[in-house]
Point group: C2
Chain length 100, copies 2
């Protein structure tokens, strides 16, 4: 499983437009094979910071997602609404580490 | 529900120590009332970036967590191992927004 945290600092006057476009991206992405979770989260201390937190089964699913019609249509539109964005891929660190 | 993304840029030589301390924090936090998820994630492109991604039932649970013995014991130790950290609280944006 791979987690993606895609953090967007959205232009203040574009926040509602961003959310409407994000809705379409979320609903279509959740239908994709390998999509375990895909939701938008608002920073409780700054409503212009909006994160997608996504969970994917594997890298192949992410590659398919990045080539999907809805991704190619919506993500460039979202990009025009943000001041900056940061996308990071994470894998879970197992807690059964040796400690001694 | 509240999501916390706590992003740590860990000093390169302290990554393994950070993971061992994080393990104890994760195991004890997961036993807390109101803790829905609490795990550590490693940036797939930079193993010194380690995020806690947490899900809590409500703000009261987070307040209890911040006052817990394991939090007060371990978090200051983790803080000494990082170059910088950023903690943000998020709430999910509902997708049943009006679109017209």
């Amino acid at each position: 499983m791979i987690h993606i945290v895609a953090k967007n600092s959205v232009k203040r006057e574009q926040v509602e437009t961003f959310k409407v476009l994000a809705k379409e991206l979320i609903l279509k992405s959740k239908e994709e094979e390998g999509c375990i979770a895909y939701d938008l989260y608002e920073d409780m201390n700054n409503p212009t910071v909006l994160n997608f937190i996504e969970i994917w089964s594997d890298e192949e699913a992410i590659e398919r997602h990045n080539k999907s019609e809805h991704f190619k249509k919506i993500v460039p539109k979202l990009a025009k609404l943000v001041e900056n964005k940061e996308v990071r891929l994470y894998k879970k660190v197992p807690v059964n580490l040796k400690t001694d």
